[in-house]
Amino acid sequence: MVQELFRLKETPSQTAGPYVHIGLTPNFLGIEGIYPSDLGSEMINENTKGERIDVKVRVFDGTGTPLRDVLVEIWQADANGIYNSPNDPRGNADPNFMGWGRKPADMETGEMVFRTIKPGRVPFNDGRLQAPHINFFIAARGINLALQTRMYFGDEEEANKQDPVLTRIEHQNRVPTLIAPREGNTYKFDIYLQGEKETIFFDL
């Protein structure tokens, strides 16, 4: 017998199911009085530094139908590219910006709008700068393990072309699935779970 590693296995995932709102956004559902507001529904206040933007998200299934029961969370750096987290060794993140948001899809249209700021650039592990991006966590009925992806910004062409993550993707014709076009102050990010336009998902 060799020695044991004594490591534990991660708890297995199960779908968030169709009633995820009860737990994570009860006020949205009309379950009021338990929590004062839904966590993550407001990301910025008047003192938050950075350019105000809206990120408009929809998630489509393999038939092209928007998911109306999906829940999306985003995690992003502040305007200077610093994460408001003890795991960011650089510290000094904007105290008026947590960097995390959570939204349930509209039950009719499937749309979610995150009112946030445009993040700064975050270094890759070799010191090169990554293009500005937002990290996504997608949970819903029919999704057994929440999906991870990233959104990049359509008006950051130069940075996107040199991004250490985007440039290492073999099928460059799929890279546009991660890039949200800009219109005014709104970035529209349509996520496709399946089909010709299937979004790139990550296993990180």
Binding site: F6, L8, K9, E10, T11, P12, S13, Q14, T15, A16, G17, P18, Y19, V20, H21, I22, G23, L24, P26, L29, G30, I31, I34, Y35, D61, G62, T65, D69, E73, W75, N80, I82, Y83, N84, S85, P86, N87, R90, M98, P123, N125, D126, G127, Q130, H133, N135, F137, G142, I143, N144, L145, A146, Q148, L193, Q194, E198, I200, F201, D203, L204
Partner: protein, 246 residues
């Protein structure tokens, strides 16, 4: 320094054979919601190893007691009273302190307080169905609730969910984020459930079954179930003992 090379040590690779596959046709909703291309991997960067922090101060006094957090004053939810407790650990067996744990569930009759749930079992006016807490310094958490009921759901013509409680956990890194469900020891419905059976390995399923703990039971009040949650671990916790920031 903004542009200095950060020292980033990532999380252990996720064992995707331990988790349910995205395409699991026995659970029919997965068929049009499962990506077909392989996911793409790269080493964890600051974007993956960082994550949001939630403090104990955001919690309301009744947030972790579902028997009363939606009830009229002096009343409480109907159903078998239970305590659910355990620890949030990482794969190295270390506690994950100060992390948010959220739960949601059906009432004792198997009915959810949700517009889309039309099951004929009645709503309980004193039961909302959600709770939350933040783990303490040793990674411990604690809820009081009622044991939820089993209920039928649209999949096959006669599929039922076993009694279960949904849970959502963060951990310090955003890629540790986990949503899952736990079940109750001894329930014969567990092994018939198409959602449970999306998990290929029986040992993994057993990890989702909370154990009855008579020693933690509150006499003449609530039975207790113990349920530990394991999040992904990282090399940064192998050789050091930093207080936070793992």
């Amino acid at each position: 320094m903004k542009n200095s090379i950060p020292e980033v040590r990532g999380f252990f690779q996720r064992d995707r054979t331990w988790h349910p596959p995205s395409f699991a046709p026995g659970y029919r909703s997965t068929v049009v919601r499962s990506p077909r291309y392989a996911p793409i991997s790269f080493p964890n960067t600051l974007s993956e190893v960082t994550g949001p922090v939630f403090g104990h101060s955001m919690l309301g006094e009744l947030d972790n007691d579902l028997t009363v957090n939606y009830a009229k004053p002096g009343e409480s939810a109907i159903g078998p009273r239970i305590v659910v407790y355990g620890r949030v650990l990482d794969e190295n067996g270390r506690p994950v302190p100060n992390t948010l744990v959220e739960i949601w569930q059906a009432n004792a009759g198997g009915r959810y307080r949700h517009k889309k749930d039309t099951y004929l079992a009645p709503l309980d006016p004193n039961f909302g169905g959600c709770g939350r807490t933040v783990t303490d310094e040793e990674g411990r958490y604690w809820f009081r609730t009622i044991q939820p009921g089993a209920y039928p759901w649209p999949n096959g013509v006669n599929d039922w969910r076993p009694a279960h409680i949904h849970f959502s956990v963060f951990g310090p890194g955003f890629v540790q984020r986990l949503i899952s469900q736990f079940y109750f020891e001894g329930d014969p419905m567990i092994w018939k459930c198409p959602i449970v059976r999306t998990i290929p390995d029986e040992r993994a399923i057993e990890r989702l079954i909370a154990k009855l703990d008579m020693d933690a039971t509150v006499p003449f009040d609530s039975r207790a179930y113990k349920f530990d949650i394991v999040l992904r671990g990282s090399n940064s916790t192998l050789f050091e003992n930093r207080k936070e920031g793992n």
